[in-house]
Every structure is written in C-alpha cells, then in structure tokens.
Symmetry: C3
Subunit: 100 residues, 3 copies
C-alpha cells in the first residue's frame, strides 16, 4: 500500500445551491465527490441573521493546490451570496494517483 | 484568502437525544452546526452491550478552547448516560472570523 | 478529560456493497461505525469510466495500526472490484479506551 497525503475539502451549503455548486466544483477541478443531505444552522455573511435549514455536505479529496483553487472560486462566487462554509482537513489515501 | 486553523468537532449520538443535544451544544457555545442522520454501531458506556441503531452526526467548527468546553459538557452530561462518541480533528477555514 | 490520538477511517462505497462491506469491516476489527447515505461521483478503478450513483459513507475511529489492517483488507478485496475510496485523517477522542 502507498499512503499519500491529500486534503479533504468539505463544503456545507444551503440546499438550494446544490446543482449550481456541483457544476462549479467540477469546473474548478473536482473530479470526485460525496454528497450527503442534512440540516444545519450557521451564521450567514449575507445578512446579520443566522441561517437555519436544509443543507448539503460535499466532501472531496484534492491536492493542496487544487483545494486552494476551489476555495478561491468559493470565496469569489459563493461566500458573498450564499450560506456556504468550507474547510479543509488533512487526510491520507491509499491510492493517491486518482487525486490531482 | 486567509486560512485560519480551527478544530472540527464531530458528535455521533443515538437519535433520541437529538433535540436535547442541539440545545445543550448551543448553550455550550456552538453557533453553527451541520446534522446528518444515519445509523451506527458502537460500544456503549451505559452498559456492557453494544449499541446499534439510528443516530445523528453533528459537525461544528470551533476554536480549540471552545471545543474543550463543549467536550467537557459532553463528558459530564452525555457520556455516562447515552450512546455518544465525540472527536476533534484539525481543520482550516477560509473565513476564520465566524468561529469563536 | 483525556485526549487520545486516533485515526478516523472514512470509507465511501457504492451502495450495493453496504452489507458485505460492514461485515468485512467488522471481521477486520472495526467495532463501532457510523453510516450515512448519499450520492457521489468518482473515478473508478474497475473501468476507465467515471462512476456516479448512490453511495454509503462509513466513518470509524481506530488506532493507526488497526486502520492499516482495515486498509489492507480494502486494498485486497474492494479496490480492484468496486467503486470504493478510503482515507484516514487524524482525530482525538476524549475516551480513548474504546478504540483499539
């Protein structure tokens, strides 16, 4: 086995942006993702009030450089307009050649 | 962009405690969270037997100090009584000013 | 409280292998797990085409050595045949004595 360091990028967003977000993530270089649905509460940057409702959680494994590119896209197109939070965490995969 | 280190606190609990747990988490300082439902199996501390059934998974981003406060609350009120597991993992957010 | 380092092993698999995968994970030493359902897209190693469809996400906390044993099982039995991705990430639990 070969353990390769990658980053796990997690994006939590209000459910209404799901289709648009998946399309933009793939355009930004995301080739594989896992989506689960749930609900959440969070402080929105759109207005001063809290946001609460149905959301989607998308996880994807990326190189650190690719994650930075995706985060830049989210910061430009999503953070100012939608209830979206994104974070990266360190991970190791056994098969690293798939994640670029 | 500004990457800020935070911790991701994940709490997995038997589904029956969902309302109570969310209320207690918010009282302990959790301002934003994502909840997904699923099922699970785990060793319970309540009795010697394994627990298996519907559960909820709650993820929240916090400062390290805030996570410690939440874990102390869970250790006092939940671990002795319910099937609850909690762990923290390192994460980085682009917008750190929301997570205190 | 006592914080103990563990690893979180996450396995994302096409939904059809759920029963078989849970059985094999438990045989390989996994005593507790959380399963959520969703959908995903990913590059398959089975053939050249992308895979997209219903999937399951299984998270489990393990020692680093136990995670290596589970990953070896996945690399032997699952990666060549099914759409399965697995990664490990660092975590800390308050109660470490349950995770061996």
């Amino acid at each position: 086995m070969r353990n390769v360091p990658v980053v796990c990028l997690t994006v939590v967003a209000e459910a209404v942006v799901e289709s648009r977000l998946l399309r933009d993530l793939e355009t930004a270089g995301v080739r594989g993702w896992t989506l689960t649905t749930g609900r959440g509460r969070g402080a929105s940057q759109v207005d001063a009030s809290d946001w609460e409702g149905a959301n989607v959680r998308i996880d994807t494994l990326l190189s650190s450089a690719a994650a930075d590119r995706v985060l830049a896209m989210l910061a430009e197109l999503y953070f100012p307009r939608f209830a979206v939070v994104a974070w990266v965490s360190p991970a190791q995969v056994v098969r690293g050649d798939k994640f670029t």
